[in-house]
Subunit: 395 residues, 2 copies
Amino acid sequence: MKLPQDFEFAGVACGIKHDPRKKDVALILSRRAAVGAGVYTQNIVVAAPVVLDRQRTPAADIRAVVVNSGNANACTGQRGMQDAQAMSRQTAELCGLSAGQVLVMSTGIIGEFLPMEKITSGITAARADLAPASEGFLNASQAILTSDRGPKTAERSLTLGGRSIQLSAMAKGAGMIGPNMATMLAVITTDAALAVDDAQRLLQTAADKSFNCISVEGHTSTNDSMVLLANGAAGGEPLAGKELTVFQETLEALCVELAKMIPDDGEGASHLIEIEVLGCRTIGEARQIAKCVAQSALVKTAVTGCDPNWGRIVSAAGYAGVDFAADEVALTVNGFSLYQDGAPVAFDAATVSDSMRQHRETKIKLTVGSGPALALHWTSDLTIDYVRFNSEYHT
Amino acid sequence: MKLPQDFEFAGVACGIKHDPRKKDVALILSRRAAVGAGVYTQNIVVAAPVVLDRQRTPAADIRAVVVNSGNANACTGQRGMQDAQAMSRQTAELCGLSAGQVLVMSTGIIGEFLPMEKITSGITAARADLAPASEGFLNASQAILTSDRGPKTAERSLTLGGRSIQLSAMAKGAGMIGPNMATMLAVITTDAALAVDDAQRLLQTAADKSFNCISVEGHTSTNDSMVLLANGAAGGEPLAGKELTVFQETLEALCVELAKMIPDDGEGASHLIEIEVLGCRTIGEARQIAKCVAQSALVKTAVTGCDPNWGRIVSAAGYAGVDFAADEVALTVNGFSLYQDGAPVAFDAATVSDSMRQHRETKIKLTVGSGPALALHWTSDLTIDYVRFNSEYHT
């Protein structure tokens, strides 16, 4: 894996997780001042590290991100805030930074205080292990996981104005963790030079097209966080004009690739479902319909059963709160036309069902009119294993 | 079962359902002009009978409701509209009415045309069977069912201004039908005298507190319909003032009793969940939070597993889109305090879990501030049987 210049990574095990061999502290350091941007959960109930990072981004001089898994430091009140601050302070002291230059992320069980002795030893070990190497990046990408089946990483290389630019990103999320709560984290590092305002705007736009367009069961966590560090080591002035646009498109494609890994790894999932809604007046309306279809338990269980059940999809669109003409609705599933001009069309159910059985991804394409706007949403299907996993656990 | 005066009921089997012994056509007749009010699905995609009934209510002179189960007459285009009109016309001819005095309801599989020969024979048989008797009422309440485990009926008797007034109601709904789509129907008959505007207003208010506060999986159907027929046979002028208020309270209690039967009978449900949200600024906000908690798959599966998982409940409230102070949140489950002043409290998880295991109903009480408004919502838990039922069926 290629890494952006002047970044170092580490991931270590310090015993927060039940299995002491599992890595649970990640550290990401930029050797030079990096522009830091962040997008965070919209839940009213937010974890302590989210409160901290919100205050610290966007900024022109972020140097490190410290992450722990196994404990979300959420619903932990004043002591939780002190613990999050201690994490950033300890990281800063070990790396010769000020605490305000360090972002903090936590993911795992909620309502329990962080085991600060373990965390401190973890940060110390991670500091010692820091390296500008793929191994460090992979270790970090493992240390942020909870119920994920494996690391989620993505990268892009591009040349802008004769300069080689690298983006390398990691994420985590599978629906449930700790096992107490869904949590999604992502860290994107790049050596591109970006202005602070551009970094924040690009990250928000990318989030709106990627991580804000995925769901497993639709439960927004208290810890969702996504940050971008751009340290400019590739050289040159902050990107602008056409170069910034190319960078933005690259960032968005990277985020979509990474985001789709989360519902694909959704707890118990047997299908990744892609929902494309077309023909809307606005992107907002298209997203609203796509999300509503994605969150229907009837649509999800139909896909689980490889059933091309157009009635469930069309009726879910119908209660999304968006006005459209029912007689203009058209639907395809995996390219097969099931519904046209607001009425079912004849199709061979066995053929469509076979297609759904043979592909991990089911593609639903729903047209609701002739407007210019479209949106994509990715979700998991709903299986017996999801219910078993989430009902058999006891706090 | 006591019945309101001057109403007749029948329910017969005409072969729409696979099992020819199962009743599938219900007829309800008022011997005199009845005020008719209706509340219908908010889905954009609506079934033909809903289009018809919306045009016909509220009205001062409704005489009959004809219902078929086994076929929803939804997504059936122009032919579906003609079939719904034919159902009302045939009923009208057999009963000596005009078609506009007849309301029509359908529930069952969507996207298939009504088998009109069977329907016609069913309406004819029901007409012949009409009687002002409990048996007829019970037959009708069976003929409107689909995947329900049994009839859902409720009644109230009250005396207003020296006059005995009776309300008798039936409903259906369990989440899925046909088996293609959730559908909820309710018919309330009363011999009270009501003004048309009052009838419509009271029914809408009652729906907002009952049938609009329940969910199984949250998928709004194309056929949801609830109608009230008030034929004034109890005598007197239309109810007004304090008497109207008493009638309204009675109607609302009746609707709540009937509505709760639906999630209690939710497909695969092992618990009925009652969610009470208090301390809001407005009822709308309280309902929004209650609905959001009710629709969380993580909350539902926690109840399935008898797990007092406060984190899932509190975080679901947090993404309802309603602003509240996280540090004022308090939560009880089955009367046990789990969360207070925005932080978890010590509790014996085994005791609370035992309580959830021993009761069919789990009571969640969530306070989010000190405002005056509250709301109730009832839902089913989410079980392996729900997923099995809804994923193993094939169109």
